[in-house]
Amino acid sequence: MVELAFTPLPAHVRTARLVAVAVARRSGVPESLLDEVRLAVGEACSRAVEAHRQNCPAEPVKVELTDSGGRFEVVVTDSGHGAAPADDLAGPEMIPEGTAALSQAGAVPGASAAEAHNGLPAALGNGHGGLEDGFGLAVIAELADDVRISRTPAGISVCMSWPSSAR
């Protein structure tokens, strides 16, 4: 197992991504899946960093990487208790509403004058140029082979895994 703890700074998320991909590669996760590992771990760490920055900037974000039984598993645990809205707890089957709105955003932007936000789906954007909370988790749900998101006493735990060929 590889364990990583980092101060909740956006700059460290890249480091976490690099470590995750390095360990995944070593665990025998197929090369074709490494981009997904990189993005999913990055998203999980980004939301954990944000939760910590709002609630406990002094506490580190924890990442555990394990390889057993033919699975490469990554668990990102935050202590930013209360930072996540209920919607944030969506698993692959319960993707936040925003994502549904996104996939239905088929209408050419601006096609409907009545549409809010200059023709963009309401889920897109919170005025700061960011996407709605939970969007990153929705991306993870699409990327990881298996995802479990659970609430811990301290915060949220995102557990993701991919097939590996343990050597």
Binding site: P10, R17, G42, S46, G125, G129, A138, V139
Partner: protein
């Protein structure tokens, strides 16, 4: 690889060349540049992502934010990207339907001009 940003005018459209990784750490710089351009009156933007190596949801958020800003001035923000790994992120989030995504800067400009 850090984020490298550059911009220039081409046929009356502001082209923003992005190189490197757009993530939670670097995305604020791209956001600032887009805000800056809009504040200076550049409402027709093409963001060239051919050299982008990584893009996460923070980066997507900044692009959507940029699109909202230019739309407020009846402007446009088109993307240039041929990389499958980046396009995949737009696809799974449904954003391929929100942005015009083109193979080259020339095509993006041509498509924008013909729309007028």
């Amino acid at each position: 690889m850090d984020l490298k940003l550059d911009d220039h005018m081409k046929d009356g459209i502001r082209v923003v060349d992005v190189e490197g990784e757009i993530d939670v750490y670097t995305a604020p710089r791209l956001r600032e540049l887009l805000i800056d351009l809009v504040n200076k009156g550049d409402y027709q933007l093409v963001v060239n992502m051919e050299k982008v190596e990584f893009l996460d949801s923070t980066g997507l958020g900044v692009l959507v934010g940029g699109l909202k800003r230019v739309r407020a001035h009846d402007g446009s923000l088109d993307l240039v990207c041929r990389q499958e790994r980046i396009l995949k992120i737009f696809r799974i989030t449904g954003l391929t339907k929100v942005f015009g995504i083109h193979d080259t800067v020339e095509e993006a400009i041509k498509a924008r001009k013909s729309e007028k």
